[in-house]
Symmetry: C2
Subunit: 289 residues, 2 copies
Amino acid sequence: MQIAMIQDEILPLSELDSIYLDRGTYFGDGVYEVVRSYDGKVFALDEHLARLGRSLSEIGITGVDIDEIRRRVEQAYEAAGIDNAKVYFHITRGSQLRSHAGGRDLKPNFFLTVTELADDRVQKEQGIAVCTYPDWRWKRCDIKSLNLLPNVLARMEAERRGCAEAILVDEGGFITEAAGSAFFAIFEGRKLVTRPLGPELLASITRRFVMELVPEVGLTVAEEAMTPAEAQSADELFIAVTTRDVVPVVQFDGAGIGTGRPGRYTKALIEAFREFVVSFDCAQDKRNS
Amino acid sequence: MQIAMIQDEILPLSELDSIYLDRGTYFGDGVYEVVRSYDGKVFALDEHLARLGRSLSEIGITGVDIDEIRRRVEQAYEAAGIDNAKVYFHITRGSQLRSHAGGRDLKPNFFLTVTELADDRVQKEQGIAVCTYPDWRWKRCDIKSLNLLPNVLARMEAERRGCAEAILVDEGGFITEAAGSAFFAIFEGRKLVTRPLGPELLASITRRFVMELVPEVGLTVAEEAMTPAEAQSADELFIAVTTRDVVPVVQFDGAGIGTGRPGRYTKALIEAFREFVVSFDCAQDKRNS
């Protein structure tokens, strides 16, 4: 008889809950998104759903209705009733007995959580420390997939070194992005540098919004790869991520950045982002009208 | 209230089964093994458990008693009572609300299945077709982790092209290994070539056994990287994998290999492997005594 075993418990395979056969667990065969709400409104859901659609398409998961996903996210957010919430959701190719090439005509699995966002005020006011780690990830980091073990290993090592984020460095010695966020440096008083998009990094939505705000605060953008040594010599550093938008980086591999306090452009961007969020829905409505 | 949603169903997060919070699904934060039985005996379990121990250690999952895992595998195999079975098992870092750097002091999750092995006689007698695919995997393929999406994509594309396995090719244009097996070529009548071990491929246990058998069939081993063009010019090709041991490859990217039928050395290795399996337990007992 074919059987399954969960910890110490043996049961017939036919009685196993299909969640145990999720290709998400067997292979990381799925993609995900994280959105947040600001003061009772989910922010930039359309942008995240567009990226989800692209991720699904790149790995060939078909039959997912993005409007249905939107409806679920909105319904779940409403049910939770949390003003500043983190909404995580993933879609896997489905459940079946383990087989690499299986996965055709399966019903995709959807899973979502709505949780309280951690308070980020201290991080925003004081800045965070980061440290570098080799970028061991796969060659399609433009796909937001569930294959995140290298990110986990980088982040765990960063935490052991007392850092809040790991900065990933490719084999050529250049920074790609952070383990769970986009990475930016400001040089010579006004040039904002970040790596150009490509298969080696995620098209971060917060990154895109930051780039839109850059002229407002008097910076110019240069999309270039930089080395850790160059990053250490920057006037200011920051990361950008959905859950916390812009977070100053004040220490890089043990070296203080600038004055050791969040820099003025970073603070201006945090402020600009706050305003951007408030005006976002109106702007969206105008664009759509 | 923090909530979860599974497909269309909303429930309080506190009522969610912990399997939904498995870091194996969120991040592929776990490792696995596959062993098989031949005629009622699990083969080479010690070797697989040793590799599992190394994989766990490399990603820092602690607190797993390998002897306890051995006991579970043996107990489950016994309960299933399948002569020629495939035993899959994985261990993940545990379950918790999603957090990259979490995962300390969690209780690891163990999951196992025992299933019937597919009949491989036709594949062994007629050989299989394979085709190449870019190796998009991460930089630590020596760790047998659950981050297998690139392997899935390669295998799905191979199947679309009517092939039973995908041969992964690195950025330098050299073959690393196959999506789910080790890869070998025989040149100039007697030289067996396979890629040397390193972080870019798995230390396959079947590969190791094949190498031990090679002198018996009159071959010499050269551990070298080869290109797809070189592989196409080989006298014989085969893959090696736990579930099917040695399987001849008779077509590579559409080109016939040798006579288009399994070659004589490959057939000799299949036979030698069969004898090796039969004598394995005795040899093991002798070694241990």
